[in-house]
């Protein structure tokens, strides 16, 4: 038996407790990441063989209009869904933080999308967007407006997807923000009221700064989530859809290259591109947070 000092024993227990998580991260996150990185510098030759080709995949990517379009799609999706989605989450959270009748029910309603099965959600939205029998078009036509081909028109398809994305993120973010709002002591608002600040002023001078750590978390995770958008595109846009080029995201393109075209190496290069973009955006946010996030301790 090893003789351990008391302190060493404590450390040993500590390591033992975090081991499952660390091992999980290593196997499920770090290893695939390194593997992708390696793959991106190779060319797959089938049967699991690959040979090193340097930056060729990256050069190819630079000249691939699909990649550029997917990058633009992803950035548009992320920017629009995060700005509108986080704003709506905050508005709903603030409203639900008031003493209104039946707020428990509203909270549940807003949270429901978070726990609904994505496939079922996609089906319902596809029906809503359906050009011939969908609810939206029926509404449009009932007021004499022309029908819109929501999911097949290249001008609208991405925004149709964005709307679904926003709808599904508001509930989760709202719950986080609401928890943050409820942490703010009432006496700050009372002091502000006596100081003469109206509701709008109170929001900007007290609520916003005090909820900024939560808001920061929500923004960062929403942006990362947005950059990785895949499932709504996969489930709502068919491969032959005319709008595919203008909706597919980087992750969708990775999926297409890796699993439909069988070019794992090129797919890996696309993932590496996404990784770098995510890291840069997150790093910039970490820097910028000093300007607007107020930590209290």
């Amino acid at each position: 038996m090893l003789k351990l000092t008391r302190r060493r024993q404590d450390y040993a227990w500590g390591y033992l407790m975090v081991a499952p998580t660390v091992i999980g991260v290593l196997i499920l996150n770090i290893y695939p990441l390194l593997k992708s990185c390696y793959l991106s510098f190779t060319q797959s030759t089938g049967f699991g063989h690959a040979h090193f080709i340097g930056l060729a995949n990256y050069v190819r990517m630079m000249h691939d209009p699909d990649v550029w379009q997917a990058l633009v799609n992803t950035l548009i999706y992320t920017a629009v869904s995060v700005v509108i989605g986080v704003f709506l989450s905050l508005v709903v959270a603030v409203l639900l933080n008031q003493h209104i009748r039946g707020r428990g029910i509203y909270r549940t309603i807003y949270f429901l999308p978070v726990v609904s099965a994505p496939a079922a959600v996609a089906m319902v939205w596809r029906w809503l967007y359906n050009a011939d029998a969908g609810l939206f078009n029926s509404l449009l036509q009932s007021v004499g407006l022309p029908a819109v081909h929501w999911l097949t028109d290249p001008h609208t398809a991405l925004f149709a997807i964005i709307i679904v994305g926003i709808w599904s993120m508001v509930g989760y973010n709202m719950v986080l923000l609401l928890a943050g709002l409820q942490e703010i002591p009432r006496s700050y608002y009372e002091a502000a009221e006596i100081d003469g600040a109206g509701p709008v002023r109170q929001f900007f001078s007290i609520t916003l700064p005090m909820i900024s750590p939560t808001l920061f978390f929500v923004v960062v995770t929403s942006i990362i989530g947005g950059l990785q958008v895949f499932d709504f595109i996969f489930m709502m846009i068919e491969p032959m859809n005319t709008a595919m080029e203008y909706t597919q995201s980087l992750v969708y393109l990775f999926y297409k290259q890796s699993f439909m075209m069988g070019d794992r190496s090129y797919g890996a290069a696309i993932v590496m591109l996404l990784l770098v973009i995510t890291l840069v955006i997150t790093a910039v946010q970490m820097k910028l947070q000093k300007k607007w996030v107020h930590y209290n301790d």
Partner: protein, 367 residues
């Protein structure tokens, strides 16, 4: 500058009445203290004056204006909260300036006023700090400063010193007194600490269970408490209460109870004769119990023998926790005397300062 008038103010949450028929006029420039045990409705009353809580019924006037439905910002008040409620993301300067900024005071005026207030509260060095970088006492001063710069006509303070240690509390107490003298503003101060109440207040409102027990100057409350509650609440250590019987013998009246036999003053004797009941409650403050041995008192003056159980030496005074008959009493003796546990001490009561309360309604029978 303003008088604050509460007319039959009542506060209820549903069927739960928290403040009952609160009727009080606080004079212009007066330092009024609300004191009472936890949960008696002090904060609720103060918050009604501030406008943070609705008034269920009754009328509130500040100056001559009916304030019931006026919003807090238009009541010309400033409030210091128990937890200070300093905006954590703002610097000390911004905290103090916020109220003026909301009132659209010009920037240079704000700057001058904040700096003046900061100087008077020794905060100048700290103006650029955030609240979390301040000590408890400094935060307390910032909270005061934030109220001072506004130059309100009424200051409201809800237990502003309760988060400080004993020594700092003493310092801040004098600081607040000085502030009141300098500003000459009406102040309403809530505390559950009777020492704070006695030292700060021009007048004190003693509250219990949402009902005003007595409103008077500190000395009058101490000397002439209107009932047992006030007598027990004001003064430290608390007054001793001893069940007693009025005994009259050939024109000589005295009070007799378990383990004691107390002579009374001529005045008191006259009044006791008129009391219908024979059973009363005798109230004696620890300061009014003396050691007969030290006083070289006459045997006839000795009220009883105290059996010392605990000795607390405070320096200038020594507190004796004693058994008198079967009851516990506390006596405050000069610090120079030595006492031992188990010692028998012959006791003399100061007959000029005895209090007698009714056993059935606890009212002071001598008033």
């Amino acid at each position: 500058m303003a008088e604050v008038r509460l007319e039959h103010i009542r506060k209820a949450y549903g069927d739960n009445v928290i403040v009952k028929d609160f009727d009080l006029t606080i004079r212009d420039k007066e330092f009024m203290v609300f004191v009472g045990p936890s949960g008696c409705g002090k904060s609720t009353t103060l918050r009604m004056i501030a406008g943070l809580e609705d008034i269920t019924s009754g009328k509130l006037y500040i100056g001559d204006k009916l304030m019931n439905d006026v919003s807090p910002k238009d009541r010309d008040i400033a409030m210091v909260f128990q937890n200070y409620a300093l905006y954590p993301h703002m610097t000390v300067y911004e905290n103090m300036a916020f109220g003026l900024k909301m009132r659209h005071v010009p920037k240079d005026v704000i700057k001058r006023k904040v700096q003046e207030a900061a100087a008077s509260l020794q905060l100048t060095e700290l103006l650029d700090r955030k609240p979390k970088a301040l000590s408890g006492g400094q935060r307390q001063r910032v909270a005061m400063g934030r109220a001072v710069v506004r130059e309100p006509s009424v200051f409201l303070m809800d237990e502003p010193l309760s988060n400080l240690d004993a020594k700092l509390r003493g310092t801040m107490r004098t600081e607040i007194s000085r502030l009141h003298q300098r500003l000459q503003t009406t102040m309403i101060y809530v505390t559950h600490d009777q020492t704070e109440a006695m030292t700060l207040g021009d007048r004190i409102v003693v509250l219990n269970d949402g009902v005003i027990q007595q409103v008077d100057t500190p000395m009058n409350l101490y000397r002439h408490p209107c009932n047992k509650f006030v007598a027990g609440f004001i003064g430290s250590p608390s007054m001793n209460f001893l069940p007693a019987r009025i005994v009259g013998e050939e024109g000589e009246v005295y009070l007799e109870g378990d383990g004691f036999h107390a002579n009374v003053s001529y005045d008191m004797a006259q009044k006791l004769v008129d009391v219908g009941a024979r059973e009363v409650l005798l109230g004696v403050r620890p300061d009014d119990i003396h050691d007969a041995g030290v006083l070289l008192a006459d045997k006839k003056e000795i009220a009883g023998q105290g059996n010392v159980e605990i000795v607390e030496q405070l320096g200038a005074t020594t507190l004796l926790h004693m058994r008198l008959g079967t009851q516990q009493i506390v006596a405050s003796m000069p610090g120079g005397q030595e006492y031992a546990v188990g010692q028998q001490v012959p006791l003399v009561f100061n007959i000029d300062n005895l209090h007698v309360f009714s056993t059935h309604d606890e009212r002071n029978l001598m008033l």
